[in-house]
């Protein structure tokens, strides 16, 4: 793993340089490539960018978007902001929890599902909205949620 982070960072820096404004882009690059930011990334990035490990660690842990653990097969991001609340997103959370066994910020036991809160996906005219991995879904009522989860569950069983 260490090797692959090192390779990713080396390659990135050879293309884009190692000025400080490239710190966020390199972290995005690691997460986009591996699905998360492994523990040793801080020291690799710090060395390459001439920063302290604490500084890079601080950046990784400050931003909600950066994950330091491998995500579940299906990461469900549920919008919990006002607009989606006004259309019943709180009930959706209970529904996802019941159906997948995952809790907010946690994986389900089979590591197939995880739930993360998100503060607005910008789909507020179709509230409530969710995101599953890279796909957006708007106007998610309990029926639509149920259908979606059933489909994903059957996919995980067939896989």
């Amino acid at each position: 793993m260490s090797n692959s982070v090192q390779n990713l960072v080396d390659k990135f820096v050879s293309l884009k340089g190692s000025s400080e404004d490239m710190v966020l882009p390199v972290l995005h690059h690691i997460q986009d490539s591996l699905g998360f930011i492994p523990e040793d990334s801080a020291s690799v990035v710090a060395k390459k960018f001439n920063l302290s490990r604490a500084e890079v660690h601080g950046v990784i842990t400050y931003y909600h978007h950066f994950r330091t653990n491998k995500p579940a097969k299906y990461n469900i991001q549920l919008c919990v902001a006002e607009s989606c609340k006004s259309c019943g997103s709180d009930n959706l959370y209970k529904q996802i929890e019941n159906k997948t066994g995952a809790k907010m910020h946690e994986h389900s036991i089979d590591a197939k599902f995880s739930i993360e809160p998100v503060y607005c996906l910008g789909l507020c005219a179709a509230s409530p909205a969710i995101q599953i991995n890279d796909d957006f879904y708007g106007n998610v009522d309990s029926k639509k949620m149920d259908d979606l989860l059933s489909k994903l569950k059957s996919e995980t069983q067939n896989a």
């Binding site: 404004d21 995005h28 006002e82 607009s83 607005c120």
Partner: protein, 517 residues
Amino acid sequence: MPNFKKFYISKDALSESLGSNKLAKKLESHRQDFEIIRTGSRGMFWLEPLLEIDTKIGRIGFGPITENDIDDIIELNEFEFKNHKNYLGVIDDIPFLSNQNRLTFKRVGLIDPLSIEQYCSYDGFEGLKKALEMDSSKIVSEVLDSGLRGRGGAAFPAGIKWKTVNEANEEKKYVVCNADEGDSGTFADRMTMEGDPFSLIEGMTIAGLASGATMGYIYIRSEYPHAIDTMEKAIVLANKERYLGESILGTKMNFQLEVRKAAGSYVCGEETAMLESLEGKRGIVRAKPPIPALNGLFGKPTVVNNVLTFTSVPLILAKGASFFKNYGIGRSTGTLPFQLAGNIKHGGIYEKAFGVTLRELVFDIGGGTKSGLPVKAIQVGGPLGSYIPEDKWDIPIDYEKYIEFGGVVGHGGVVVHDTNANLAELAKYAMEFCAVESCGKCTPCRIGSTRGVEVINRIQKKENVDENVVLLKDLCDVMEKGSLCAMGGMTPFPVNSALKYYPEDFGVTSDDKALTN
């Protein structure tokens, strides 16, 4: 076989979330000679997924439809259209669209977002061409004269900012677009970047010419992958056609532009936190002064504006400051793309001159709630905006008039709540949100937000209600006056307004002494 061959389907993230891609796929599978243009969205989201067809009488539409309706629709001739249950007629004639003042949104939903040719056919780059013939100080004074104010929320006059940067005596300067549109209930920046990216490029390039900056960044939130993708592609195209980059349109002017992806921190929508983030650091708010116009990105003079501020500029240059100033009321000139969201029947984008009222927006245009229940509260201006009760729905929307009663116009988000809403819960959520998103630099925001959640919890449990209401009001006072930025400074707006206008949700009556003291 009907002879219609030109179709339009939106690829806006919201349209996609309702299935517009499936529509396009189905249509593609039918005939090779169909031309399917993927546009931004018209912003009438209750009609999405929407299919538009080019006909003799204009672009007619069907919506909301699913891919299963495609087979039937493409077999219809123009006399049979009206028999289809989802036929909408000529799209431009729908009152929701025809009653708007679409200045910044005029192209969104109409054109292929990545076609420079189509952009130009709707006055694209006219402002830039004018600006290239002008002195930088003349550009600044045009923007100043227009009265354009920052559309991100703070409503600071854009021209004054630009003037400050223009007059700053530094070699290196920057232009930064704040596209970290984190407010719940807002999506105008997203739709602009996805549906009309060249307008942002044009506006920022003009800002470069006006300020003397040759480098610009667009800081886009990570929740907007479509916008990031479209902006990146548009920048490549604009560079290729010399609307951007070195020697713009054959002149000596240069301006480079890059996209930077944010990483999910709400407070990075605050300009100084955003600059820190662009510099590769944690998004911690800086104390002001010094102001970013003098000491901004990497310590250099920096123009920082919101997407909609920049996209208003090409028009001001092309048609003149007075054209823009003719829209709006008082010191709130121009238009604002209102974003109708939450529990609303006709949600979407409604660009209108300042002066429209909330009642018009939510009832006449938005059709009331989606649930059919009465409207209880309307939050305007994002999560840091006040909850507005019915007796204020007739006040014309204008920055100053809203400030007078403790409201915020902000970025123009309008979130409707029906009678199921519990305002004590929403007030608690505002504090929770502040606790999650606080950058942690100043105490009132970092600690105050957590204490706020606890106090509201106690009120809800009916523990020493009067005492705790006084405490909550006191806490809000400290946060409002003692926080470094709007995050902690404005979280009290939704909390105080909820308490003031909906005391019954907190278990207090409106004549309670704790409230009035």
